[in-house]
Symmetry: C2
Amino acid sequence: MVSPTYQEFVSQLQKMADLSSAIGLLQWDSEVYLPEDASALRGRQVALLTGIVHQEATSKQFGQLMNGLANEKLPLKHKTNVALALKSYNRDKKFNKDFVMKKSLAVSEAFNAWSRAKTANDFSVYAPYLDKLLNLSREEVKILGYKDHPYDAMIDLYERNMNVKTLDRIFDDVKKHIVPLAESQSSKQKLNHTFLQKKYDHKAQFDFTVKLLKDIGYDFKKGRQDISLHPFTIGLNPNDVRVTTRIDESDICNSIWSSIHEGGHALYEQGLNIKEYGLASGAAASLAIHESQSRFWENNIGRSIAFWKYQLPKLKKAFPSQLQGVNINHFFEAINFVKPNLIRTEADELHYHIHIMIRYEIEKEIFTSNIKANDLKPLWNELYKKYIGIKVPNDKNGILQDVHWSHGSFGYFPTYSLGSFYAAQFYATLKNRLPSIEDEISKGNLTSVNTWLQDNIYKHGGTYDAETLCKKVTGSTLDLSYFITYVKNKFKIN
Amino acid sequence: MVSPTYQEFVSQLQKMADLSSAIGLLQWDSEVYLPEDASALRGRQVALLTGIVHQEATSKQFGQLMNGLANEKLPLKHKTNVALALKSYNRDKKFNKDFVMKKSLAVSEAFNAWSRAKTANDFSVYAPYLDKLLNLSREEVKILGYKDHPYDAMIDLYERNMNVKTLDRIFDDVKKHIVPLAESQSSKQKLNHTFLQKKYDHKAQFDFTVKLLKDIGYDFKKGRQDISLHPFTIGLNPNDVRVTTRIDESDICNSIWSSIHEGGHALYEQGLNIKEYGLASGAAASLAIHESQSRFWENNIGRSIAFWKYQLPKLKKAFPSQLQGVNINHFFEAINFVKPNLIRTEADELHYHIHIMIRYEIEKEIFTSNIKANDLKPLWNELYKKYIGIKVPNDKNGILQDVHWSHGSFGYFPTYSLGSFYAAQFYATLKNRLPSIEDEISKGNLTSVNTWLQDNIYKHGGTYDAETLCKKVTGSTLDLSYFITYVKNKFKIN
């Protein structure tokens, strides 16, 4: 029997979730179908609704309700839901509605400017808007407060209980272990297969990715796939989880692995308990855990030899001329080819974390100094030279490549590396529990994988934070050695 | 120099318009892209936002602001904007938020039930939901109040200053003049061209309608076309006006004329003054005038010999085998073939108004008696037998054909006939002012048509009601004889 006060608490959270879903749809539409001239008014709509959500989220009455509940005797899950909602409430209350709406508008404008700048290959179009967001984010840090490092305030928004101290340790390990692995592996590999870069028809690619999504368990009754400039997943609720992909007719890798990646995010969202919609227990545990799910499918499964034993014949059927004579070993080598590259989303599994490390260093700088947008570009280019050994030839493939900063998201990138490392640890655990899993995968049977993820990850929602969940699932907190073992094994490095 | 009070009034209306646009997008998405399992939560979202708009629309403060403005000395256009907003305010205030949200939820449920019922070809799936809407609408009439006829209260929602008395007169004329014309014309025509019902590829149809939309002046930077079960136009604001079409591979008529029809609506919405967005002066004059724009393009232009002189060669290029040997006269005859039919949206220009007359009689009955949904079906079938001489073979092509009632829209249908009659009057006026217009049209030059509509209709927005606007544009109020002359002329009837 649920107490009426708790029920009232649930209703208020669901109301806020309904409003946030409406904003989500406006944003989805903005990136997928919005007519060119309509973006200014769209930005105003989103800001207006963001203000309304903020008002609901910070109402005195809601605060009193939760503070009352916090003193009640509740089942553990309910207690966690109240505690986490109260944490958000206390954080949201630090901001006034004007600030929230101002930031929302600045984000819309920056996103539009970023799109224009990327098309024009000209960072200067975007720089003044980015500066505005940098300043707003620094203001946000001051409002939020922090103990050790200003950047901590931002990181905690995306990954609760994470901070610079821990991330410094993790990215030190990246520098120590992954940077040399990436270098040695790059110099070792000679043959680059170019069959992935032949001409692949747009519609045929789209159709193939739809089949892939179905095969990994994505439910099209509860979602859909569209095309966008930057692939993303948006979970409006567990029954409406949409993914997008990007199609490049001269490179089939883009669509395949972005669809699998977003599919992994989407499986998590579709697997959340709809009865707990709006509550922490019905939401993802954290962004790093979210990313662990996308990287798990994209890499641990989606770049494995087992997966392609089943899928390659299908891909060859869809593209017979392009893939003529390609056997599973060629294909596996090609999709796991390691080389220094410019674009994060196209990076191999080793260089990927160097891309993230660079962004982490830059973001730390943003919150330590008062660095301006115009100084970010030389810093970006310098770090790419230093760590990846590559000269950035233009803005489009340099500092303009990612959408995140234009969304006002600083502190988001580190969760990408964390996600990969969690994914490797989860995958090792799964293989340990179900030794025949790769055999099943190679037959196209992913039921055991889906069930294991449902029972071990999805069903808990956000009841535990990332580290607690990781310990529950794998027996220990995040341990980079799983990832190192995984890549050494994959790339046959002793 | 605009007074600060008026400026505040404008801001409040624009805020409400922004919120309504968000609802509009949720509804557009529901009919175009929403995943199957997501409709229940979507209905709740729409209801929630509808409640918020209602709260904004009926706030005491807003009422005081407008009542103050109503006593100020304002320019005429501003005065009208205030008066019309005040009229809406006084009407909205009669409803409490619970009623508004309850109706919104009932509409979402009824729309879903209608879709399911139509697919299943089974009215009984939908009947209980329709009953709920019938009762809510009758309750609405009681809350709104009326002078002469309860149905008047509903009609005025869609067409201000229109009522049963005037509509009775108009539909009497339909019965007296159009019913016999439809009958005699049907018996006269013998040859039915079947080339329009060959197999026409889905994508090729879509691409052709996109070109048609561009040709008539629709701006794809300020809109887009998608596919839906029931074609519609939604103007979120003048920079975001979306149309949908329906494609039937065994009948090219569906897509072509629904695209031109919705294109006509959309040209009106795109032509409204964005600076007056949210105000009556930046909105359509009425639904009948809106429909006059769609019917003007669909019929007066879109089924004219002049228009197809230019477009037929293009259509033949897109579908060479299907249209081999078809000349302009065959084509013109085929697209203007008159015969009794079941489906309103596929009706010829004569039978169309008999379809509307039937719905008008049924709706009048709904608000005069306490008729139940289950009794509407036999009534529907009886009237189709009586006026069109056709036995309704199933629910799908009978009472389930239209979406409108499932939207809770009763009183909307009559505006369709009014729209056609206004369109004929506008077209006659245009031809009178610009005698060479059909010559221009036959060369594919629609600039003069677009300019004339912009200067005479669009630019006024809703400053005048339909009858005042009609008088301003044509010199007289609505006069059915223009339509009678137009069809007699088209069908060569003496």
